[in-house]
Amino acid sequence: MSLEQGGDTELVKEALAGDADAFSELFERHYSMIYAFAYRLCFDKGDAQDVAQETFVKAARSLGSFHGKSSFKQWLYRIALNASHDSNRRLNRKERLAEVLSGAQRNFERGADYTGLQCALEKLPDDLRETVTLVYYEGMNHAEAARILGCAETTVSWRILRAKRRLKSFLEAKP
């Protein structure tokens, strides 16, 4: 089976056997997805690029620990989530929020209609923002999101409910 036709599972097997091209193919398949996921978690292009790079470096180092219990994609999401936590720890949260609000102000002045939403999302606690990102952006059901977040499915449902309540004021302001 060629690399292009093979599924993730096949590519992972080939990578585990030492095939660097198979690993590169996995990178090509999932980089954009992981970068976008990281961006929605941290709202900063540079940070998102760092998180995406860190995700694939960690995946490369620990590919041997991937046992196929979840899909490769879900495994990458989990690594990216942890990498974003590390990234958030490195950054001064207040400074980052000030930057985002400043950027939002510039967007508002340009008339961008997503400014309020970005601010609302940024103000969400990390656990709610991560859950919203997985469910609404990555299109996962609650069970899949729960596996990546390492929590119960009911916890995901509860977080979504709380997040929606927090975002309600924004949604009500938009007809």
């Binding site: 990178f27 980089y31 970068y35 470096v57 180092r61 919203v132």
Partner: protein, 196 residues
């Protein structure tokens, strides 16, 4: 259940394209990590276990610092120090030394008026009651007398060939297989090893 309205609004938040250079750099570093993963794992494993040496040493030091004072405050085991002390006292009092009695940090030397036959079997006897310890260093064949809880107690010390110690008093007999208490004191008696 998804909320289409929220979904719609969230999708308005566009994601900027990553820089091609950043993507290329990420691939290059990830591929390098992939190709060197075994060497990296080895280094990380060494790093992970490397802390055990210093931590183990620090732990041992900590244990020593905490427990050494306790071991000094309680009575030492049949030791070199006990034998040295007994030898020093014997050198001073020759064959008139009956016993060395230590109680609460004070040492009392018991001697006889006449020379006694020499003995090659030094013995240590401990009388314990709570935290109180009376330590007696003597020899097999000697009679030792001391005050225990206001009562004068005398007994003969006898060490057997198999290093058992027997204490024979007027109204008691103690050995390691027939342990008895004396005026509330628990008795422990052992022969001492040679100092050299």
């Amino acid at each position: 259940m998804k909320d289409p309205r929220l979904d719609d609004f969230l999708k308005k938040l566009s994601v900027p394209e990553p820089d091609p250079a950043a993507r290329s750099r990420a691939l290059s570093r990830a591929r390098a990590a992939f190709e060197n993963r075994e060497a990296i794992a080895l280094v990380e494993e060494e790093r992970a276990w490397g802390w055990l040496g210093p931590v183990g040493f620090a732990l041992a030091l900590l244990i020593a610092v905490f427990f050494l004072p306790f071991s000094l405050s309680t009575e030492p085991s049949p030791s070199f120090a006990d034998r040295v002390m007994l030898d020093e006292m014997t050198a001073l009092f020759h064959q008139r030394l009956t016993a060395v009695v230590e109680r609460g940090g004070e040492v009392d030397v018991q001697t006889s008026l006449q020379d006694m036959p020499s003995s090659e079997q030094p013995v240590r006897i401990l009388f314990r009651r709570g935290r109180e310890v009376v330590r007696v260093l003597s020899f097999s064949g000697r009679e030792v007398c001391l005050d225990l809880d206001g009562k004068r107690v005398c007994f003969d010390v006898l060490a057997t060939k198999d290093d058992n110690v027997i204490l024979m008093g007027g109204d008691f007999l103690w050995d390691r297989d027939h342990s008895v208490s004396l005026a509330g004191y628990r008795i422990e008696a052992v022969t001492l090893l040679p100092a050299s």
